[in-house]
Amino acid sequence: MKCRKCGGAAVLELRRHNVAFCAPDFLEFFRKQVSEAVRRHRMFTRDEAVLLAVSGGKDSLALWDVLIEAGYKTTGLYLDLGIYDYSKESHAKCEAFAADRGAALLTVSVEQEVGAPIPEVRAVTRRPTCSACGLSKRYLMNKAALDHGFPVVATGHNLDDEAATLFGSVLHWQTEPLARQSPALPSTHPKLVRRVKPLYRLSELETAAYAFLRGIDYIVEECPFARGATSLMHKEILNRLEEASPGAKHNFLYGFLEKARPAFERVAEVELHECARCGQVTTGTVCAFCKLADQVKRAR
């Protein structure tokens, strides 16, 4: 297989674009997709301090690498979920990455903030593990950004993540999540920072290839609680569609963002309040994070 740009030996075929690239041309393609995402959705400028949530996995570390190379002011945020060796190893990967590049890394412990590490939260709540974990992560990312004065949080969600989330929301016609699903969510309250996903134009295969070709030492092992997660089942279904019809995931996500999302956004305007307990933003009186922490406290 030959590189579409230079005719050299290709290392990666991108069937949805009907091209193959050699390593240098693929890396250039990847960086351009990130800068196009940042530009198109006005995610952040070079003068803004960006808090980047890093897990030690391929996506967040690939994104951090691109943003550092492009001269953005980034600080990593590692949320220590307390998931046995998996968390220890992923934290070590983030620390090594940051140390190599002289980048700043903040660490927040879920155990300290929620009252128990994720395996214990899992045991005492009836929520699916990924749901309690996701809720905690979103809350703590926003809180860390506010506490340290960052106007924006970036995450490493890729095209596959976004397509799978969309698929799940559509299956249940969850209109509020559909209205909120976007590569860039503006701050709609003084205590809610902007949230952006600069990798939404790139597939998991592409982020993994970028990380590999850049020699990034990321955690390949999966979270032990991810097995059986609904989002993985949705990814598998979408990957089967993609195999039969390259570009299916891309068209599904981009079509939604361009044509369908504005309709959901119009009907889903909600009023935001400050949580009576912690002061963070919620649609109710007490936020879901405080309710989760209460549940953990009662069970201990």
Binding site: M1, A10, V11, L12, E13, R15, A20, A23, G57, K58, D59, P128, T129, C130, S131, C133, G134, L135, D160, D161, T165, S203, E204, L205, T207, A208, A209, F212, L213, V220, E221, E222, C223, F225, A226, R227, A229, S231, L232, K235, N239, R240, E242, E243
Partner: protein, 66 residues
């Protein structure tokens, strides 16, 4: 050739030269869901792999998330 698979990490022996796409088909793996690695090289699906190769088939799918 030796093929290293993940989740869980394990090795299988595969006999004979073939293209990466045929290897993945035999292993029942969708090509868009893995990196196929030989040493420091990424292989495309039309690349030939042979007897003395050690091939890592590394999944790219991250799980979980709410």
């Amino acid at each position: 050739m030796k093929v290293v698979l993940r989740h869980p990490k394990r090795e299988v022996e595969v006999v004979g030269r073939r293209r990466v796409k045929d290897l993945l088909k035999e292993l029942d793996i969708l090509p868009g869901t893995v990196l196929v690695i030989r040493g420091s090289e990424l292989l495309t699906t039309d690349a030939m792999v042979g007897e003395d190769d050690v091939i890592e088939v590394r999944p790219v799918i991250s799980g979980g998330g709410a």
